[in-house]
Subunit: 195 residues, 2 copies
DNA sequence: TTAAAAATATGATAATCATCATATTAGCAA
DNA sequence: TTGCTAATATGATGATTATCATATTTTTAA
């Protein structure tokens, strides 16, 4: 594990900035000069780091997935250390008020933030999106302690992502919190029964 | 029910074109001049029909919802006339291969096609998005013959939209069809039990 | 310290695009 | 037909933006 070179550190900083922007504003709203500025740089240096804007989008999506997974892992470890069941803890974290709201800061699950754009992506970026989806499904299956088969894990993943996305779409209305809470409690109940 | 004036017909034609474009390419990819061209007009006349681009996006989202609901109603009526149960017929239509694939033609459910952008919309358009979501939930509850309460209907709606969106994100891989089919069959099974 | 190399900055270009001002055409009443 | 009005077209403008050529700064190795 060698230390990152100056250039590699800059590269990472650009990626981190881009990963936030795409989740907050969407793929199409990412402007190269804007990313560079927010990363504390000027626009010209961009092409020393990425072949073009699309290459940044692809890497940024992967970075967002890794970042989100890492934060999730931490929250999950904490919840489990406090006696929570892995799968129900995951459900509670994923459908938390905090996760509902952090979209405006470009944090949280990139699939919920960008999922409806996935089918429009170029081949390279779509492959990364596909890996993110598969990783989510695998994680859910693993957290269920293999009690869920792959298809059931996909279905639960769909429910979680769909519910978060819809609740965000209703954000600002009374329904948003109501549905989010009801979904969280209902899913926790369902997946506790089968212990 | 008065006949539409020439201008109103043109207005509808622009809307129909825009409703297709936003679902196929996303909100941000809609270009005013392009919509007009595809509607058989030139760009200049646009502002005689809409205050600005945002106003078109708002109306187009509503139009897409109405169009999608109408097509759904027809498929559903046909399935029910052939002896299908309303809710299971809905699940089978929503998670059909056809619905999976029609995104590339700008057809189908606008929530699956655009849902992750909903939280970024301006107030007016977001209100329309919220109504689409609520309409979906109500429809699901109605089709369950009120056996599902509102929260459970929301959860099933989330699952359907999430599953379609994820399957589209995996489109082109073997997983896409596998997950779609498994989800469809599993959900139909679950919601037949409770008859 | 100093020159070569690496990294970043400045400035320019061409394309895209929403919007508007103005012109032209089409429908209709007389 | 002949004007009048509604509808649509043409052309222009200014803003945004990806990309590239070139310059400057920073780092590193001697």
């Amino acid at each position: 594990m060698t230390a990152l070179s100056k250039k590699e550190m800059t590269h990472q900083r650009i990626l981190q900035t881009a990963a936030k922007i795409i989740r907050r504003d969407g793929f199409d709203s990412l402007a190269v000069a804007d990313v560079m500025k927010q990363a504390g740089l000027t626009h010209g240096g961009f092409y020393a780091h990425f072949a073009n804007r699309d290459a940044l989008l692809a890497e940024a999506l992967g970075y967002a997935g890794a970042e989100s997974a890492e934060i999730l892992r931490q929250s999950l470890a904490q919840a489990i250390s406090e006696g929570g069941e892995p799968l129900t803890a995951f459900i509670e974290i994923y459908l938390s008020e905090q996760h509902l709201n952090n979209c405006t800061e470009g944090a949280g699950c990139p699939v919920a933030a960008l999922g409806s754009d996935f089918f429009r992506l170029d081949t390279t970026t779509k492959a990364i999106a596909g890996k993110l989806i598969e990783a989510y499904v695998e994680k859910v299956q693993e957290l269920s302690n293999q009690k869920l088969n792959r298809e059931s894990a996909f279905l639960l993943t769909s429910t979680l992502i769909g519910a978060l996305q819809l609740a965000r779409g209703l954000k600002g209305t009374a329904q948003a919190s109501f549905y989010l809470t009801a979904s969280r409690e209902d899913l926790v109940r369902r997946h506790s029964d089968s212990q």
